[in-house]
Symmetry: C2
Subunit: 139 residues, 2 copies
């Protein structure tokens, strides 16, 4: 498609695009192999925050079995214009952990409420260690 260009986005532009929050997709290696699931997220204090169910699949999969240890995940956010056949995507890679302790309350209040019904009181934070982004546009 000669009429399109692909542009690499730097860290600042990637963070600007994802900072309003919305829907992102978390990818990780579960007991059943690679897995990716959409979640409602908030970008707060430089990190991705979302809520999930205690003892749900995402909880069990993201526990390392070692108290306080992190789990490496990917988090992808995009905005795609199907009609215009263009869009951007940002990929965050980094450790995920359950938010506990004194900073939980403030982070919990900042975090968007999940659309999915049922109790989702487990707060997960992903700290970006690597951020990449790209945009496909018409030239």
């Amino acid at each position: 498609m000669a009429d399109r260009v692909i542009e690499e986005l730097d860290r600042d532009e990637s963070l600007r695009l994802i900072s309003p929050g919305g829907i992102g997709r978390i990818a990780y290696t579960s007991r059943f192999g690679p897995t990716v699931l959409p979640v409602n997220y908030t970008f707060y204090e430089g990190a991705i925050l979302f809520r999930t169910a205690e003892n749900g699949p995402l909880d069990q999969d993201l526990r390392t079995g070692i108290e306080g240890a992190d789990y490496e995940v990917a988090f992808e956010i995009d905005d795609i214009d199907m009609g215009g056949e263009m869009g951007w995507s940002v990929l965050i890679q980094g450790p995920a952990h359950h938010v506990t302790g004194p900073d939980r309350e403030e982070a919990y209040r900042a975090c968007v409420e999940p659309w999915a019904p049922g109790s989702r009181e487990l707060l997960v934070r992903i700290i970006p260690s690597h951020i990449t982004g790209r945009r496909i546009n018409h030239s």
Copy 2:
């Protein structure tokens, strides 16, 4: 959110939803940890097909180093109504492989052209071994 319900989708309904093709997100374990990227896909003869660049990151990551061997991936498709705060998602897990040999030409013709510019002549097929789906709706 007491006004919402979550519904598990069976295999037939999940396949019906993804069969028109469009944008999906492939997740796999790369050299740099879990990774997830959007691609234009076609659903053809019971499998996901997409094109990527030879020797691009997705090519290199999806090579096992063993000729003819498969690579376990996840592929996620969704349709989310941000305003209505509802939507569905389907998760496919299974082996990915490069399509070569006598069936490549027909599969290549069936496969959607990627939006991303540049030569993307590598044809990848994901054969679903496990399909799950869910829909969040207002009750």
